[in-house]
Each structure stands twice: as structure tokens, then as C-alpha cells.
């Protein structure tokens, strides 16, 4: 038994790739019908298939077929694997996305089949992030099947069976497919069996062979099944099996397996940056849904708003679908991104509406009444409802679980801004995006409690009210920006940041040559960049057209640079806010350079640099060897106790040759250009055209992970929301926090209603710095106050009942039982 070859009949299904999702859906139906037919024909044949999404499609479209599948699952002949909605990209979704992939999918499997999937299964995904073992186990999966990178791309990762460990201590028994996930035809089957038999002999345990026509579905053919049956009868040590069965049987053996405690990279390194559109949509949707759900839950628990759990589920499922590896990796056909834009748009729209509903419900309860205001009396000049006799209240909402002090914007100019205690607040009137009306918006510094709000009072710029003003720490000159924390200088000939000094230690953090936008040749790599792991063929730098001081005092100072290259331009507003420890860069790019890459470099002094990146559920340190690396919201380079992080709200790709960290801002490729077989055509290119995003430059001392880089990144990605208020009486105070988390390295990643309609609440928290701790968590609105212990990078999910009593659970919310 111990050296058997387990034959895994499967059909690799890409629901979107070189076709749109509608065709993928049809492909699923055909494949499932075929598989059912084969299962009815052959008693010992077993079929394995991943992805809850496919089952849902079949259930909705062909209920009779679905019933047959339910029966086959019950009989153990059809084995669902991978408790996720699709086989997602495993580098770019954040940890909450992986939680939702598991939550909605495993509950679906549990409801329809009476069981969850115990095996994770992402055979085609393009690399696997280092914290996946935790994300898998907390979604109910202790075993994992993957294939990419293959042995040629990374020969160090063990082949076949191994233990894969993540930094929190989680461990999954992993099978790296040595052959294809879609072996078919006698010759291929023979070759695979020979090779796997040899590997089984050497490793002293069984191996899996994945057979069946795949990519566009299909599955095992009659011919292949007949041939395998013949081989079995000829005495080959083969067994029709499933991954679940394979792992269970191997675990009964004496195993001496290698261990791997790193991520599983690299394959298709170009996919970390290809097609900026889908990357930005993914980030936006993740953030928007998480925050909207937090506010909805606050409003439901404390303000009587109805829960929108089903709405959020529907929205998340659109996000989960579009995290499918060929979509999020930017390597599908252009039309697929038209679909993705619509589906992600729907998710974003749901989030926006839910958030607005919740915030206005909460805001309505705040007491903003000022004696003397007989009513919400207003004038209507300048297209606004305005009252010039009294300051206008504005509530600022912070979705993060730590207090945030940052600049926020409202869409009219002001004469003064006060906080809820009547203290003057630093502000600026800045150029608005409109040409109508006053042309000015107010930017002011808000100080908002954790997952809470604070009310500010803005005096209209043309009001007669006497005002007091707050002092600002911001100053600026033609080529420099400065506040109490940072001093930033620009090179007037290149427009680049030439000096970045932290005032606390008077330390220079960068070297000359930093922040010169650099253009790289991308003509050789295909969309995936198969077999190419470094993008270093520099073909030029962008030329500075102008550098101009735009704002110089008050809440912020701004220098705008404009660069050009060929037919393209890059406009950057370097913004230094009051008391800010990072420089924000509001970026607009019009890019029209086929087959190029644009990177933004920062070079730091010091020896033995280390690069660190946020990954789903944690961070990872990588050698500064110039290979392209996937990351979430930040990448960092640190040497000799000083470092600089580049944070973004839309990008996922960096490289780090020696002392230089480079944010990959865009990568222009032909859509779905596979191995660069390019017939003559008028191609359309991904990352052609206009894009807007923000990045930030954050200098720090000490290690990246124990600095405030994660907080800075969270603030950039989860900016506070301003809600203009009227004058009304209410029971709500003007400053309120709904959840507080005692320790700074623990962040709230979800606050939601439990999916089982029990009325219970879910609070999910994650340790971010690799530092174990005990923290207090307070959430009065649901009568909860509890302690939680965290190991390094541990994610914990808590379920709170109606009495405020708390149970620790996992991504499946305690709904699934044996």
C-alpha cells in the first residue's frame, strides 16, 4: 500500500482565461455531466473537483445533475476539494479574502454535501504565499496540493510530499505535483507512472498522478480510464483515489518528509503587476467590503439597522471569483476584464451603499445641536446648504482598530476648523477637483478614535464668525517639504526626492538617484513572464517637465512634479501632511509605451540590506537579489537599522536589486500573450492608458515589521470617511470608539455578523509584527470585553453571543461540526 500511485481523475477548469466567464460556466456544466457519466460507467473510478463556485453554477442551472453529484459525493465517488470559491491567485488576496474564500465555500459544501473540504487544492495558481498554511488550516484544510513553481523554476522546494510551515507555527502536509495536473493519453500516462513509481520507491510513500483533460475542462476520457484499468490488471501498483484518501493513507505510514518554511515561489513573476486595473479593483473591493461590513455591524448592533449579511456575501463572492488566478494575475483576455470591472463594480457599489447607510444611521444619533440654531437654517449660495452663523458639523469615521491622526477632505473651503472640544485644528483650503463654485476644498487634520468617529466643526470661509487658528508644523520651499517629523528635498533637475531625513534622529534615509521613474524593456517576457524572474533591462528614465510647489502651509505642503517619456506622462503630487511620518504621493499616469515596465526606485545607504514585504496574513523577508516579488500594501528595504518602505493602495509588485527597492507601477503587456507567440496584429495592451493611485514613502528606524509601516499602509488604504451633518439632537457623543484593541500589533480584520443567522457577532484579529502578545479587546456595543493571546502572525476569530460571551473559532465561525 505504501508505494501506490494514487490516480486522481480530475478536469482542470479555468472558468475565465482565454474565454469569458459565461463560456467557463458552460465548460463546467459539460465537464460535470461527463464526469457523472464516467462515474456511472466505472464502479471504481473516482472524480475530484475543486471550487465551490462551479458547484453553485451547476446547482442553479441543472438541479438534476447536481442531485446526482450530491449522491456521488455521499458515496465517496465524487470528491470536492479546496474549500475555496475558486483556485485563486495565492499571492495577492489579503488574509480576509482567504477567510471569505473559505467561509462561504466551506459552508456551501457543508450545506450541500454534509462535509467540508479537508484538502486545499490550487494546482495551477502561480506561486503560494508564505502564510498559506495558517490560512488553509483556519479554513478547515490540513493538506494541500500545488504544482507551481515547478522543479525547474525552483529546485529547492521539495517535490512530492513535504511539510509546509508558516511563521505562526501552522503546518500543512503538502503535495507538489511532479507531473502535470492534466496527464492524458497512453504515452503520457505511461511516462508519468514510471516516474512516479520511481519517486515512490525512493521516498517510501505513495504518489499522486493527476489525469484528465484540463484547462478548458474535460476530465478523464473513457480511453484513459480503460487504459488505467488495464494497467491495474497488469499488476501496476495503481489505485483510483482522491487527494483526501491519498493524504489519509500516507499519514498511516512511517514518513520521513522534508520540511519547508518559506513561501513557494516563483512562477509567472510578471503576474504580480500585469493589468493594473484588476489589481486596483481587488484592493479597493477588499478594503471597501471589509470597512462597510464593520460599519454595518456597528449600526446593526447599536443603532437598529438591519444586518446586510447576505448582501455582503454576494459582494464578497464576486471578489472571490475575480481572485481566480488567471483573472487577478492579469493574464486573461481583455474581455475578461470588462466582466471583472462589472463584477467588482457591483461589489464596490454594494459596499458603498452599505457603508453610506450605516454611517448616516450612526451619524443621525450624534448630538450636534447648537443652542441658537432654531432649525437647520441654511442659505443656498454656491450650490451648498450653508449656515454662515454657525460652524458646520462633520463626522469623520475611522474604520481601523487603532486611533488615526491624518488629513481628511471636505468639499468646500473653511475659515476655521474645531474639534469636538472646541479646540482649533490645523487646516488648509486646497484646490478642488472642480472648476465650479469656490474651487477650494478644506483639508484638515482629524484625530479619530479606533473604529469610531469624531465630530469636527467647520466655519465657512465667508462666515462672519470670529475664529482662532491652530499652528501648523508644516513648511515648504520651492524644492523642499518639512514638518515636525520629516524633511524632504527634491532635485530640481530630475524632480526626484533627493533627501529624506527623519528629524527625531536627524538620519538621512536615501541615496541620490532615488525616485527617478525608470522605464524597463518588457518586450521579451510574455504576459506571465514565463521563466523570467527579473526585470532589469533599463531603457530610460522619465524626463522632468516641471516641478512646482503647490501648497506650502496649514494641513499639508505639496510639490507637484510632471515627467514624460515617449507619449506618456507621470504626474505626482508629493504631499507632506501635518505631523505625518510618511510622504504621500498622489499619482496620475497616462501610459502609452507598448511592452514596457515603469518602476519607482528608492536606494538606501548601508550594508547587508534586507527587503521585507507584506504578504497575506503577515510579512516575509527576501534576499535583495533583484527578483520580482509579490507583496500586498508595502515593500521595504532596511540596512543597518534604517529603512524606507514604499506603500501603495493599488500595486502588488516590487523588486530589490542590492540597496534599491523598486515599486513596479505598471507593466505593459499584450493581453494573454502566452510564450510571446505574437502574430502581426494591432494589439491592445494591459496597462495602456490612464491610471490613478497613491503610494507613500515611509522612512523608519529598526526593522520594517516592528516599525509603524503596517499602520501607515493601513491608513493609506483605509482612509477615513467624512460625513457632513446637520444640526440635530441625539444621544450620541461627538467622539466615540466602538472597538478598542489594547496592543498596537493586533489589528481588526473583520467585524461582522455570524453567517448562521444566530445573531452572534464575529471579530477577527491578526498579529502583524511577529511579536507574540496578550491583548484586551473591548466592544461595548455587543457587551463584549475579552482577552486574547496571540503567537507571531497569528490570526484569531472570535464569536460573540448575545450575552457577550466569547468563543474562539476559525474562519468557519463555529458553524461546521462533525
Amino acid at each position: 500500500m505504501n508505494k501506490e500511485i494514487h490516480l486522481i481523475g480530475n478536469a482542470h477548469l479555468d472558468p475565465t482565461w482565454l474565454w469569458r466567464w459565461q463560456e467557463g460556466c458552460g465548460e463546467v456544466l459539460q465537464t460535470f455531466r461527463s464526469a457523472v457519466a464516467r462515474l456511472e460507467e466505472y464502479d471504481d473510478f473516482i472524480f475530484t473537483c475543486s471550487s465551490a463556485c462551479y458547484y453553485k453554477w451547476v446547482e442553479d442551472i441543472d438541479p438534476e445533475l447536481f442531485k446526482k453529484i450530491q449522491d456521488l459525493v455521499k458515496r465517496g465517488k465524487w470528491v470536492p476539494v479546496n474549500g475555496w470559491w475558486v483556485q485563486p491567485d495565492c499571492n495577492m488576496p489579503n488574509s480576509e479574502s482567504f477567510a471569505r474564500q473559505a467561509l462561504y465555500s466551506q459552508l456551501y459544501y457543508y450545506e450541500k454535501f454534509g462535509r467540508i473540504c479537508k484538502t486545499g487544492y490550487n494546482v495551477d495558481s502561480f506561486g503560494h504565499s508564505g502564510m498559506l498554511p495558517q490560512l488553509l488550516t483556519k479554513g478547515g484544510m490540513k493538506c494541500y496540493v500545488m504544482m507551481r513553481p515547478n522543479i525547474r523554476e525552483n529546485p529547492d522546494i521539495p517535490e512530492g510530499l513535504f511539510w509546509w510551515n508558516s511563521a505562526d507555527g501552522s503546518k500543512v502536509l503538502t503535495y507538489r505535483i511532479p507531473e502535470s495536473y492534466a496527464v492524458n493519453g497512453k504515452k503520457s500516462i505511461d511516462e508519468s507512472i514510471d516516474r512516479l513509481t520511481d519517486m515512490a520507491e525512493k521516498s517510501n510513500h505513495g504518489m499522486m498522478l493527476f489525469y484528465g483533460v484540463g484547462n478548458h475542462g474535460g476530465g478523464p476520457t473513457k480511453g484513459d480510464i480503460e487504459y488505467i484499468k488495464k494497467l491495474k490488471s497488469d499488476g501496476k501498483n495503481l489505485v483510483f483515489s482522491s487527494p483526501d484518501k491519498f493524504f489519509a493513507e500516507q499519514c498511516k505510514l512511517i514518513l520521513d518528509l522534508p520540511s519547508w518554511s518559506d513561501d513557494l515561489q516563483h512562477h509567472a513573476s510578471g503576474c504580480y503587476s500585469a493589468t493594473s486595473l484588476i489589481k486596483q479593483l481587488n484592493r479597493k473591493a477588499e478594503v471597501a467590503l471589509t470597512n462597510a461590513e464593520k460599519w454595518n455591524t456597528v449600526a446593526e448592533s447599536a443603532y437598529g439597522l438591519g444586518a446586510s449579511t447576505a448582501n455582503f456575501k454576494n459582494a464578497w463572492l464576486n471578489v472571490c471569483y475575480n481572485q481566480f488566478h488567471d483573472i487577478l494575475c492579469g493574464c486573461s483576455i481583455k474581455e475578461a476584464y470588462d466582466d471583472a470591472r462589472e463584477q467588482m463594480g457591483l461589489a464596490l457599489d454594494i459596499a458603498a451603499k452599505e457603508e453610506n447607510k450605516a454611517l448616516l444611521r450612526i451619524a443621525a444619533g450624534i448630538d450636534t445641536w447648537i443652542d441658537g440654531v432654531s432649525d437647520t437654517v441654511f442659505m443656498t449660495e454656491r450650490h451648498h446648504c450653508r449656515n454662515l452663523k454657525y460652524p458646520r458639523p462633520v463626522a469623520v469615521f475611522n474604520p481601523l482598530s487603532f486611533p488615526v491622526k491624518t488629513c481628511v477632505r471636505t468639499y468646500h473651503p473653511s475659515k476655521a476648523v474645531y474639534d469636538d472640544k472646541g479646540r482649533a485644528v490645523v487646516f488648509s483650503n486646497v484646490r478642488s477637483s472642480r472648476s465650479n463654485d469656490s474651487h477650494k476644498d478644506t483639508v484638515f487634520q482629524a484625530d479619530i478614535p479606533a473604529l469610531g468617529y469624531a465630530v469636527y466643526h467647520l466655519v465657512f470661509d465667508d462666515s462672519d464668525i470670529d475664529v482662532t487658528l491652530a499652528d501648523s508644523d508644516v513648511s515648504a520651499g520651492e524644492y523642499y517639504l518639512e514638518n515636525s517629523k520629516l524633511k524632504v528635498r527634491f532635485d530640481k533637475s530630475t524632480g526626484a526626492v533627493s533627501s529624506l531625513i527623519t528629524k527625531q534622529d536627524n538620519a538621512e534615509h536615501i541615496c541620490p538617484g532615488s525616485f527617478v521613474p525608470t522605464v524597463i524593456d518588457n518586450s521579451k517576457p510574455d504576459t506571465w513572464a514565463h521563466n523570467i524572474f527579473k526585470f532589469h533591462d533599463v531603457i530610460g528614465t522619465m524626463k522632468l517637465e516641471s516641478i512646482k510647489l503647490i501648497e506650502a502651509s496649514g494641513a499639508r505642503a505639496v510639490i507637484r512634479t510632471k515627467h514624460t517619456y515617449g507619449k506618456s506622462y507621470l504626474s505626482q503630487d508629493f504631499i507632506l501632511g501635518t505631523e505625518s511620518e510618511s510622504v504621500r504621493v498622489k499619482t496620475r499616469i497616462l501610459w502609452q509605451e507598448p511592452l514596457t515596465i515603469l518602476k519607482m526606485p528608492v536606494t538606501i545607504p548601508g550594508s547587508n540590506p534586507v527587503s521585507t514585504y507584506e504578504i497575506p496574513g503577515g510579512f516575509i523577508k527576501r534576499p535583495c537579489n533583484g527578483e520580482e516579488e509579490p507583496a500586498l500594501t508595502w515593500g521595504d528595504i532596511t540596512a543597518e537599522g534604517k529603512g524606507v518602505a514604499l506603500i501603495s493602495n493599488a500595486k502588488y509588485s516590487y523588486d530589490c536589486p542590492d540597496n534599491t527597492l523598486r515599486l513596479t507601477m505598471l507593466r505593459n503587456s499584450i493581453f494573454a500573450d502566452h510564450y510571446s507567440d505574437r502574430p502581426e496584429a494591432d494589439f491592445e495592451y494591459c496597462d495602456e492608458g490612464l491610471q490613478n493611485f497613491e503610494y507613500a514613502i515611509y522612512p523608519h528606524s529598526g526593522n520594517a515589521e516592528t516599525s509603524d509601516v503596517q499602520k501607515e499602509a493601513d491608513i493609506l488604504n483605509n482612509q477615513p470617511v467624512t460625513v457632513p451633518l446637520g444640526y440635530h439632537k441625539g444621544s450620541g457623543q461627538q467622539r466615540k470608539s466602538f472597538i478598542t484593541v489594547e496592543k498596537e500589533n493586533i489589528k481588526l480584520t473583520a467585524f461582522k455578523k455570524c453567517e448562521d443567522a444566530s445573531g452572534d457577532y464575529i471579530i477577527r484579529l491578526a498579529e502583524t509584527q511577529g511579536v507574540p502578545c496578550k491583548t484586551a479587546v473591548m466592544c461595548d456595543i455587543i457587551n463584549a470585553g475579552f482577552f486574547a493571546d496571540f503567537g507571531p502572525l497569528e490570526i484569531k476569530t472570535f464569536r460573540v453571543d448575545s450575552g457577550g460571551y466569547v468563543t474562539e473559532t476559525d474562519f468557519l465561525e463555529g458553524i461546521v461540526s462533525d
Binding site: L173, T740, F786, G804
Partner: protein, 591 residues
């Protein structure tokens, strides 16, 4: 390694009175407490807010009473772990239904349904807590040198101890107690000098405990390197828990127990002619007993041997310099035991010549279902025994030859790294969860064996493996936040870190007494429950030692229950606290 400063700290003490005791202030019966007001208390509380019925504010501290106990809230506490303290029955109260509270000099008077309790918070140093625990142990727990726990005839009344008792793992627990005393002596000797009365007293205690451990290596009279689990004397009832042999002249016969009957060996006679070293006999002769009064327990497990060897290593290093007699006994004992194990194919043989149930370090066992997961620990133990034998005897010979054989030809060093993987493999095979399969007692064994290996091994490649193996245990050991484990770990793996605040909390938040009275842990509002799918319940967050059940190092500190070893009818030994404190102090981890 950063040193951790431990400062004097408020330590709780409860004194119980009857309602008519004249010491109870009369105002307690008439006072009207305020209703609870939670404004300004933005911190988790042990009871749901609705449960609280009364409030007393005194000296900046808020006391909240409920029908479950009393909560003390100090917003200005120097450490976050002191901000909330919780007092419940049976540990702090005789009845948790609080009727009234009245300020007292160092705390409050609490009127309950069945009496009155004075709750005081007394400033104590960790060393003072050690002393209190030690005095209590020496007076009430020590039983002819054996130190584990003692049963009480009357609840809470330490003076009502039974004159006899035993524990299945007496040898192991006494070893850990002994190690604590050895390091106390080593600290005093270093700090005060050899002749200081404190040093002299510490040395006496350390030697007595070590002798008691050594006695178990000779008490059976088999003369073959066997080690008894424990011993009792003839006036004690024989526990119906395992195999007991009573000495009678040159033979010992098996007493009637369920286990003996099951094995069909009641009355079986075996040799006990090998003499007990004179140096050790005083442990029973001082109380008027002879060899013929001795009843020893057999079927010894690997646990006993492992902890005994850690103790002998410490004793060898700190007690034998000017005590050649003790040195000789230790060398002899170690040689006998290790030779026995080697000569019998890496098992400890019992009366039958076959292995005891759980003392197996051979590959045959490692390839069984139980042994497969145990192999990581047991391989480390076997290598540890050999290293200790080399260290103590000063010889290499067959110890080194066997060590090299096991490392190079049988893969034992590699096996030491397999703990987490094999346990996880077991979980997958059985569809169970990691936490419900952990043997928490193994933590202390892994800590002993791997610390010994890491400190004694000089070969860098092997040291790397042992450290890797140690780290494989940390994912679960670390969650106990027990300095007794943490200190050994950072001594062995100096690149690792431990949580300073947790160390401070652990030493600060221990009771003065080791009375094993239970607590009101179940149902706490501030502690999430983490339940496995098969129903095993743990606290998601570790509760301070003075608010969780009292146990030795062999229980899951996170287990979700109120009581463990006997409640108010049991007094536990000092070793839990003292072992950690004196090791930490000796190695300069704490000061």
C-alpha cells in the same frame, strides 16, 4: 539575553471568618454598597456587567461584587495584568455570593452567604513567595523526602494532612522540587557565601531532596539499575493504582491491586537483596522505619528517568564538590540506570525482564502507533541519558559508543526534530485537532531532555538539530507562558526571545499558598473558550496563575476548568514556582 527585573508585587491573601467572629467589623452587616457604575472602566471584566450587583470604591480602586465573585479594578495599575483581579470560591472565597463589602486596611471585608472573608493584597517579592511555598511544602507536603502533594482530612486545614500519601510520578515531581532547591543553594552560595546560614539551610534542603530521588534508584533492592516510581511505608494503605512490591528480607512480593490481579502477579516474589546506600537510609529510618517497611511502586515510566537525570545533572554540578560520598552515589546510580537501559535494548525492564509500560526508547517502540509520535521525545531522552552519563561519570566508553551509534546509525538526532510533524500527521490520520492530542506532561520532559542536550552537546551540527527539535515543541509550550519552560528554552536557544511581561505576570500573580482550591474560571466573561470539535475546551487566553487551577507542570495550563488536583482537600508542592524562580535567578535571566 535581556535581564528581567521582578519587583515586589501585591499578592492576594484570603482569611475566612464566621459571621459571629469578633474580628469581623460590625459595619459589614449594615453597610449599603453603591450600585455598579462602569463609567471609566474600559477593560474586560470577569463577569458580565449585568451580573454585578454592588460597588465599592476605595483608594482609587473599584471593587465590584457579583453572585460569582469579586472583581478588583485598578485603572492605575503599574502592569496591565494587574488592572483586573478576580476573587472566587474556593480559592479566595468560601461562597461567591457577595452580600456586602467594606474597606479594610489592605483590601476589603466581604460578607457572603456562609461567612466573611478578609481579602488582602500584600506586597511581596518573588523570593518571599518562594519562601512561603517552601515552608509550606517542607511542613505539609514532604513525605520521607518525596515531594508531590498531600491530601487533607479537613478542607483548607493544612494541619489535617494525612500522614501518608503518594503520587504516581513522585520521582519526577520530587526531582523538579530538588532542582529548584539546588539552584536556590547555588544562588545563595554565590551571593552570600558557603557558610551563610541561608546557604547552609538551602544546601540541606537540596541534599535531602536529591537523596530522596536517589533513594528511588535503590529502594527496590533489585541492584540492576531499575528505578522505582515512588515508595510508601508499611503503615500507609496501598493505593489501587499500579504495581506495588513490599520488601521482606531479601525478597519483595507484589501486593494486591487491580493491576497486579490483571497481570496475575499478586504475591509474586522477586529479588531485593541489593543494599540501599547507608547515606540514603535516613529518609525512612529517621522516622523509625526499616527496609521491611518499604513498599515501592514499579512499572516506572520514561518520565521518571528523564526528570531524575536532570536533577542528577544539577546535583552533580552544584552539590558534589565537597561531598564525595554523594558524588559516588550519583555516579553509581547513573551508571546503573544507563547500563540497564543499554543492556536491555533501550528499555527499562521490570519484574518480568520485559519492558515497563512506558519506558521504551528503542526503534521497535518507535515503529508502533504510540511510539511513532513519541519517538521525537524518547529519542531525545535516550541521547540525554547518555550525555548525562558522560558528564557525571567523566567517562566516555560505552556511553559515547552508544551515543554515536544511536546518532549515526539509528538516526536518533534526526528523530528529535520530528515532534510537531508526527503529531500533525497523527491528527490528519485520526481527523483530530492538534490541541486535543498534546500530552502536556511531555512538555516538561521535552524541556528537560532537550535543554540537557543543548547545554551538553558541543558538536555544532548536532546542536543545530537539537535546537530545531526544541523549537518544534515551542508552538505549544510557549502558550503556557511558564518561566520554568521559557528560561530553559532561552538557555538552550539563546537567539530566541520570551515575553517579558508574561514572565513578570507569572511571578507576580501566584498565590501565597499551594492549597489546590479551585477557582471560578468556567463562565468567565473575559476569557474566550476555544473548543475542539471533539469537545476539549481550553481558555483562548491564559489566565494568571492565581486565577486558574493549581497543578504541577503536567497539565494544560489553558484547560478550561475550575479545579485539578484535589481542591480544598489537597496541598500541592512548592516546585512549580521555586523551580522557575531559582533557575531564572541563577542564570541571571531575572533579578
Amino acid at each position: 539575553m535581556k535581564q528581567i527585573k521582578l519587583e515586589p508585587h501585591l499578592t492576594r491573601r484570603s482569611t475566612h471568618y464566621s459571621k459571629d467572629d469578633p474580628a469581623v467589623p460590625a459595619e459589614l452587616f449594615t453597610v449599603k454598597n453603591d450600585s455598579p457604575d462602569f463609567a471609566g472602566i474600559n477593560y474586560p471584566l470577569p463577569n458580565a456587567k449585568d451580573d454585578y450587583t454592588a460597588m465599592l470604591k476605595t483608594g482609587g480602586v473599584t471593587w465590584l461584587a457579583s453572585y460569582k465573585g469579586i472583581t478588583r479594578y485598578d485603572p492605575d495599575a503599574a502592569f496591565s495584568f494587574d488592572r483586573v483581579m478576580y476573587f472566587t470560591k474556593d480559592r479566595d472565597l468560601t461562597d461567591s455570593g457577595i452580600k456586602a463589602m467594606l474597606p479594610a486596611e489592605n483590601g476589603i471585608w466581604a460578607l457572603t452567604g456562609d461567612g466573611v472573608t478578609l481579602i488582602e493584597l500584600i506586597m511581596m517579592t518573588p523570593e518571599e513567595i518562594c519562601r512561603a511555598h517552601l515552608d509550606e511544602t517542607l511542613k505539609y507536603v514532604d513525605r520521607h523526602g518525596m515531594v508531590s502533594q498531600r491530601w487533607l482530612r479537613e478542607p483548607r486545614n493544612l494541619d489535617s494532612i494525612y500522614p501518608y500519601g503518594d503520587s504516581d510520578n513522585d520521582g519526577g515531581f520530587t526531582s523538579k522540587f530538588s532542582i529548584g532547591e539546588i539552584f536556590r543553594y547555588a544562588c545563595f552560595k554565590r551571593d552570600y557565601g558557603e557558610n551563610d546560614p541561608r546557604t547552609v539551610e538551602a544546601k540541606e534542603a537540596a541534599i535531602r531532596a536529591t537523596e530522596a530521588c536517589l533513594l528511588l534508584m535503590y529502594v527496590h533492592g533489585r541492584g540492576n539499575g531499575f528505578v522505582a516510581r515512588t515508595y510508601i511505608l508499611s503503615d500507609a494503605p496501598t493505593p489501587d493504582d499500579g504495581l506495588f512490591f513490599r520488601r521482606q528480607g531479601n525478597q519483595a512480593y507484589c501486593l494486591e491491586t487491580t493491576e497486579a490481579k490483571n497481570r496475575g502477579i499478586v504475591g509474586l516474589r522477586i529479588d531485593c537483596s541489593s543494599p540501599i546506600p547507608e547515606r540514603l537510609r535516613h529518609l525512612f529510618t529517621d522516622d523509625g522505619y526499616t527496609e521491611d517497611d518499604i513498599i515501592y511502586k514499579a512499572d516506572t515510566s520514561s518520565d521518571e528517568i528523564t526528570l531524575q537525570f536532570l536533577n542528577l545533572l544539577a546535583a552533580h554540578r552544584h552539590l558534589t564538590e565537597d561531598d564525595p560520598e554523594l558524588d559516588a552515589i550519583i555516579k553509581d546510580a547513573v551508571s546503573r540506570v544507563v547500563s540497564h537501559i543499554i543492556d536491555n535494548g533501550f528499555i527499562l525492564t521490570d519484574y518480568s525482564g520485559l519492558s515497563t509500560t512506558w519506558a521504551k526508547w528503542n526503534e521497535e517502540y518507535f515503529n508502533t502507533e504510540d511510539g511513532y509520535v513519541d519517538a521525537a521525545l524518547n529519542s531525545a531522552e535516550m541521547l540525554f541519558f547518555l550525555k548525562v552519563a558522560m558528564e557525571i561519570t567523566g567517562e566516555e566508553g560505552k556511553w559515547l559508543e552508544t551515543y554515536n551509534y544511536l546518532v549515526n546509525e539509528r538516526g536518533y538526532a534526526d528523530l528529535t526534530t520530528k515532534h510537531a510533524e508526527r503529531l500533525q500527521q497523527f491528527c490528519i490520520a485520526t481527523d483530530t485537532e492538534f490541541n486535543e492530542n498534546i500530552m502536556y506532561g511531555d512538555h516538561m520532559l521535552a524541556s528537560a531532555a532537550l535543554t540537557g542536550l543543548c547545554l551538553l552537546e558541543k558538536d555544532e551540527a548536532l546542536l543545530k538539530k537539537y535546537r530545531y527539535g526544541y523549537k518544534a515543541w515551542r508552538s505549544t509550550i510557549a502558550g503556557e507562558h511558564n518561566p520554568g519552560y521559557d528560561f530553559m528554552y532561552i538557555l538552550s536557544c539563546p537567539d530566541e526571545t520570551i515575553e517579558e511581561d508574561r514572565v513578570k505576570e507569572w511571578f507576580a500573580r501566584h498565590n501565597i499558598s499551594r492549597l489546590a482550591a479551585g477557582v471560578g474560571l468556567v463562565g468567565r466573561h473575559d476569557i474566550p473558550i476555544a473548543a475542539t470539535k471533539h469537545g476539549y475546551k481550553q481558555c483562548s487566553s491564559l489566565v494568571p496563575p492565581d486565577e486558574r487551577f493549581i497543578s504541577k507542570y503536567d497539565r494544560d495550563s489553558l484547560e478550561y476548568k475550575n479545579e485539578d488536583s484535589g481542591g480544598i482537600y489537597c496541598i500541592e508542592s512548592a516546585y512549580v514556582y521555586n523551580y522557575a524562580y531559582w533557575i531564572g535567578k541563577y542564570f541571571g535571566i531575572i533579578y
